[in-house]
């Protein structure tokens, strides 16, 4: 009897305990469902306007989705890479992360949720607009095409704004120096203005430089001039029957003896770079963005090379009226610099920025995707561009007001290949002082580069091939897995499309690596 009573008591206790646990769980889940979900997005865009623009879009989203809160984390640029990678790898990071400065690079990508399938579907937040039935990818001005990742078949981020580099000028100071407010329209005008600034500076004793630039923007103008001057050279190389020729082909052409540093395009590029370096303060390639802005804001530089997303901040920091123009380059012609050009240089590929990726460890990946779609819908991108003073990335939105000056200029010939990448780029930057120093000249620059250029190019190409082979090997397993999943779902069209794209990309990448290896071998044999 006592034993039976004991069992019954135990049974009742277990039953009651189970009931209490189950009730607690149900209540807790219910409370959780009604509590606020916070979605965090981390980025390094500390420029004025961008934070405010994102904040406005976030408030719109919250109004549409009560119970969801969007929080921004602003991380300084100098710690962004280490901070971002630690957060993403550690799985403790925010839900959405700006994939830039090495965060979200090839080794981190498995830690992000691919958007490849999602971008093929229309963005639901474009409902009621002309983009209602357009694939999310195609709502982007650049079709979400990343020229620097030609073989990547997975898409991990969606960008929010685009950027261009322009020359800002101080209207009051320009009037004081020249008696006019019209900016220079040609490269020769720009050099002539530099002469006037130097004469004014000597006459008045005021220390003014014609043009302030930083490590980032300074290399943009140098690269623009270089890429304009190599148009004709690149078109002549063109072994693949497409244009513009990429940097790999330019390097292979040099190693294969198809051009030398004495080519008129290269001599012209070095001469133009030397001329523009003389307009900027000594050591400008060591300057950060803020150092250059300081020159301009203090009235110690007539002009400033800066990005479109700096416009709002510059407006807040300077007390004088300013204007903006595109850096002029020589015009095509029959002689001189113009002879190296096939046409006026277009701005080239649209540089998109602010690409957010969804961290795989996010507890709310679908919510993060939904917010990303909202942020990049036509209406919200328009709003963000207006409030942040940046360039929109979605089709059908024109830059408004002052930002019209920054609109990408696609008229003309697409820029030729760049030399400013990898070891080769570092080599050129390290010799840049020879272009503008007291005894500097384009010839001194080219002579110093000549003995070591081939080695740097060879190293860059070999690195590229090594990277290609590593990616190709890693992608084999993805291709096999997708094939196996397709067997179970042969009608899954998105999976089928993904599989096809993976195989196609892998074959392109392998063919490219084999071709570069072959040309490197042939170049080594011919030397």
């Amino acid at each position: 009897m006592t034993r039976s009573f004991g069992f019954r008591s135990l049974a009742l206790l277990v039953f009651f305990g189970g009931f209490v646990v189950a009730t607690c769980r149900v209540v807790r889940q219910s409370v959780r469902n009604h509590a606020q979900v916070t979605l965090t997005l981390a980025h390094l865009q500390l420029e004025s306007g961008i934070r405010e623009g994102l904040e406005a879009v976030a408030r719109d989203y919250e109004a549409l989705h009560p119970g969801i809160r969007i929080r921004q984390m602003l991380i300084p640029e100098r710690i962004y890479t280490s901070w971002g990678r630690t957060q993403v790898v550690g799985g403790s990071g925010p839900d959405l992360v700006e994939m830039v400065h090495g965060v979200g690079g090839p080794t981190d990508q498995p830690l992000f949720r691919p958007l490849t399938d999602d971008i093929e579907e229309p963005n639901p937040y474009n409902a009621g607009t002309p983009l209602a039935h357009v694939a999310w990818r195609s709502t982007y001005v650049n079709g979400m095409d990343e020229p620097y990742l030609p073989f990547q078949f997975e898409r991990y981020s969606a960008s929010v704004f685009a950027t261009t580099t322009r020359i800002y000028y101080n209207l009051d100071l320009l009037r004081e120096i020249t008696g006019r407010t019209e900016p220079p329209h040609t490269f020769e005008d720009l050099l002539g203005l530099g002469e006037k600034v130097r004469a004014f500076s000597a006459r008045t004793g005021r220390d003014i430089v014609p043009l302030a630039g930083s490590r980032t923007t300074g290399s943009v103008i140098l690269d623009d001039l270089f890429r304009g001057q190599t148009q004709r050279l690149a078109a002549a190389l063109n072994p693949g029957g497409t244009f513009p020729v990429d940097t790999k082909e330019l390097f292979l052409g040099y190693l294969g003896g198809q051009w030398t540093l004495d080519h008129p395009g290269i001599r012209g590029a070095a001469e133009l770079m030397s001329l523009i370096c003389r307009e900027m303060p000594p050591g400008f390639l060591q300057f950060e963005r803020d150092d250059a802005l300081f020159y301009f804001a203090q009235g110690r530089a007539l002009m400033l090379l800066a990005s479109s997303q700096d416009a709002t901040g510059i407006r807040q920091q300077v007390s004088f009226p300013f204007g903006v123009f595109r850096d002029p380059s020589p015009q095509p012609g029959k002689s001189g610099f113009g002879a190296n050009l096939l046409g006026p240089s277009a701005d080239g590929v649209l540089n998109v920025y602010g690409g957010f990726g969804i961290v795989r460890s996010s507890p709310h990946p679908e919510l993060a995707l939904d917010f990303l779609r909202f942020l990049t819908s036509q209406a919200e991108d328009r709003k963000f561009a207006r409030l942040s003073g940046t360039l929109p990335v979605i089709v059908g939105i024109e830059p408004e007001g002052f930002m019209k000056h920054f609109a990408p200029d696609s008229r003309g010939y697409p820029p030729g290949p760049t030399l400013w990448l990898g070891s080769t780029g570092q080599l050129l930057v390290s010799r840049m002082h020879l272009l503008s120093g007291p005894d500097g000249s384009s010839a001194a620059f080219l002579d110093s580069v000549r003995p070591v250029l081939a080695g740097a190019m060879r190293a860059d190409l070999a690195d590229g091939v090594h990277r290609d082979w590593r990616e190709v090997a890693l992608n084999d397993s993805g291709i096999e897995a997708t094939h196996r999943l397709l067997r179970g779902e042969p009608q899954a069209s998105a999976l089928q499309r993904k599989f096809q794209a993976m195989v196609e990309a892998q074959n392109e990448q392998e063919a490219s690596a084999c071709y570069v290896e072959l040309k490197l071998r042939q170049a080594a044999l011919s030397h």
Binding site: G241, F243, G478, A481, R484, Q500, E504, E517
Partner: protein, 273 residues
């Protein structure tokens, strides 16, 4: 009959069911899903945990071997372990699906892990696959790999011509349009880049463009311009204008659109009587 513990049986069953749910057995499907998400280490664990008496054991072994090829950190020990599993699969049943797959991945190891010295073995592996199992999925994957290894190689002219003929003949025998597309495009690329032979490359590109087989957007962008430039080089301005026109339709916002529009206008003027 009903003893004092009888009332606990349902509870015990419930607890067992919950416990069983918590420790779901590893399945081959779960492994492939992890691998498709690039979680090679987790996929490898799942494949390795598939029971030896499971009907999908051979597929699980293949999955484990393929996972090892991209497991992080990548080491020569993992590649060697993968190779050993693949060799075992081939030896046990070379004609079934995992056996054929294993032969393909062994050739891939020769090509990708052994560097240039392993390429002759990779070529031999791809050729054998195409000869013995020509209709198989893996033979379709192997064809473009064989093409690029044979064509982007520094060999005497007559040897290159012989290899080019081998690839051209192979295209006609391939079972899937996608495999024909990639093999054709590799051949076209080699003909243009290494031989400047637009006359033979152009029809290969046209065949792919006409059948809308190019899936990747950046690839289509390049291919349309290549076809247009080849048509121009061959003195066919009307056809070049068609490809430039298609480029403008597909990529109206591209940074090259302005120059393409100018070229197309010039070609149309040229073509006008």
């Amino acid at each position: 009959m009903a003893g004092p513990t009888a009332g606990f049986r349902p509870l015990a069953f419930c607890l067992l069911a919950v416990a069983a749910r918590g420790a779901e057995p590893a399945t081959v499907q779960a492994g492939w899903e992890e691998l498709a998400q690039r979680n090679a280490n987790r996929a490898g664990e799942l494949f390795a945990a598939v029971a030896p008496n499971d009907p999908a054991t051979r597929e699980a072994q293949l999955g484990e071997a393929v996972s090892l090829l991209s497991a992080q950190p990548g080491t020569s020990g993992k590649i060697a372990a993968s190779e050993q599993i693949l060799e075992g699969l081939c030896a046990a049943a070379p004609g079934d699906d995992p056996g054929i797959a294993a032969a393909y991945y062994l050739a891939r190891i020769h090509q990708l892990q052994d560097g240039p010295p392993g390429r002759p073995a990779a070529v031999a592996g791809y050729r054998a696959l195409l000869a013995v199992h020509p209709e198989s999925f893996y033979a379709q994957l192997a064809a473009p790999k064989l093409a690029l290894l044979l064509l982007f190689d520094d060999v005497p002219r007559d040897e290159w011509d012989r290899r080019e003929a081998e690839i051209e003949a192979l295209i006609g025998r391939l079972a899937t349009p996608e495999s024909r597309r990639d093999t054709r495009l590799i051949l076209a690329s080699a003909l243009i880049k290494l031989r400047r032979d637009h006359a033979r490359a152009y029809p290969l590109m046209v065949a792919c463009l006409e059948s809308d087989l190019v899936v990747r957007v950046p690839h289509l962008n390049r291919l349309l311009l290549q076809a247009a430039e080849s048509a121009e080089a061959l003195g066919r301005p009307g056809e070049a204008a068609v490809y430039y026109g298609r480029f403008l339709t597909e990529f109206p916002h591209d940074s090259k659109a302005d120059e393409v529009g100018r070229r197309m206008a010039a070609l149309n003027r040229e073509a006008r009587p």
